[in-house]
Amino acid sequence: MLKVENLTKKFNDIVAVNDISFRLSEGKMFGLLGPNGAGKTTTIRTVLNIIKPTSGTVRFKDKVINEEFFNVIGYLPEERGLYKKSKVLDVIMYFASLKNMSNHHANEAANHWINKLDLSALKTKRIEELSKGNQQKIQFICAVIHNPGLLILDEPFSGFDPINQQIIKDVLLSFSNSGKLIILSTHQMETAEKLCSEILLINKGKEVCSGSISEIKRKFASNNIKIEFEGDGTFIKNMSFVKSVDSYNNYAEIQLEDSFTPSEFLKAVIDKIEVKHFSIVEPTLNKIFIDVIKEDSNKK
């Protein structure tokens, strides 16, 4: 369990992170979301014990995080790059040795991951000879080689093709299921939505929204429906309880006035058009993100 309580970090007079709290529990991947400059990196750096918080605590397994935890933390920073002139296996072994792995164990683990991510032909190549995607895989291996209990990943999927994205997603899910704590910081809302059970959305250093994905979706659920139909649907936009409508020939996305339910709408239209498909739209995390951040920014 990782517990972050009332974390605040000031650089001179600038407050980068302002009173943020969250907790991670086993089996639940955690999404740290927010626009650029929201304070994600600073939060991550504090959890990594790279910088000391101005106030607040970070506890891992009920102990304040300190240098003892270096070997149980894995980190993949957003900017990618490795020692270009060095050989693949050498680089992996170096990072393993920095996590105090014995040569024997490191070698075993390195080979396991190299095979798993289909890189065995590249083992003795220099990093600069590898494609961008393969370099990223190497970096991913460097972050997980020591089997960390806490894994912090900043944009782990950028630069990967869909196939490799899937591979990494599967690895992360199996990690999470095996009890590793994972913090995922990303701008890919779709990915966060699929992988994370809990999220924290921050803006300008402050929490704007947090909780489990399903809770948040429920909270931000608006009265939106999607309908596919046959017949003349032009009357829909003139109905009194329709707030707005985005209509096409046989398809419309409709936002209802708050006091009306989707079922009432369905009752009202069912005789006039032939309904082929009807569904209540849950807001995507993407939409929630944009709405919440906009609203938060307008407040100030």
Partner: protein
Amino acid sequence: MTILKTLAVAKWEYFEKIKTKAFIISMVITPLIIIAFAVLPSMLSQQEDESTKIIGIIDSSQNYFQELKNELTKYKFKNDQPNFVLQNLFDSSLKFEDLKKKADKKVFDGKIQGYILILNPRTDSLKFEYRSKSIGSFSDLNKLENELNNIRIKNYLTSAGLSQNIKEIVNNNSELAQIIIEEDGKESSSDFMVVFFSSFIFIILLMMMVIYSGQMLVRSLVEEKANRLIEILISSCTPEDLLTGKILGLSLLGLTQLFIWAMIGITLAGAAVIPYTAFENILPMLIYFILGFLLYTTIFVGVGSIVSTEQEAQQVTSYLSLIMMLPVVIAVPAIQNPDTMLVKILSFFPLTTPSIMLLRFNISEISIPEIFLTISILILSIVLMIYISSKIFRIGILSYGKRPSLKEISRWIKEK
């Protein structure tokens, strides 16, 4: 636990750098450059032109021609061929101006190398001129000048009626030989080559090594900063471990380089290019060398962690390199006046201690307390510098963009 990580960093820095082409090239090229600097100029100036020079002389008094001709016969090449042949260009039937014109023409026609013109020979305003198309060889002119003056003095002494004996005494020059004495009764004669090779070369080597590896260090730091590798590194070990590991690795690299250069030096000594005596004080000199290297490298790390782009890195390293060259520049006057107050003071100023001490070891005797004191000062400054550098390093490696002001840096150092 942290020692293991420091060693891991050191091992990585050492093996990754030693494999680079740049390192291998520099290892071979640097001594070559130094030897070229040391040997070529003296070889060039000592290289004799193996052709006899025909030199004219216009001497209205006719006092100098015969004597000079006699004296010049002692200058010969190895094969007994004379260095100079003197040709009398004086002709009493011609006017002075015409004589000069005729002689000038001979020079331009290539019949003579040049000619000596003696003006106002029997008066106090006597003047010697050597007239030629181009500036003559320094050693040739020196010989001619010496002989002319000897003849001048001889002539004067003869006219003053002094005996042959006294004339010889006046003409005999005694050289001042330099003997270095030591308290245990040892004596040695100082030879410029020895001092040069054993001291100056060490200093240049030290500075080249520091500058080279310093630049390498700063460049790799900038790279690690740019691709955020540094964040992975310091989420695995403390900045202090990282810094110490880097300095350690680099120092090992420097030692390797030094070892290989020493091998080259000893081989050359075997081939009698470098005198063996240059290696007499090798042990204490090695200590100063290593300590100096550590001190400078630590400074490089601290300063290097502040910059975040390649251009800035180049700027900063070239400033630093300039400062590093200062001891080399100071070394030249210090080699001439090893016992002045300033040199003594500079021996205790940590930035110049290594190079000045390297120099002084071969020029004069240094007392044991002085050695201990300077070494202690060096070690103390290294410890202090590691402390300061690691403070700067800790924050510097995480700050990007605008270069911090001195005020900010001093705040970093004070921060706990």
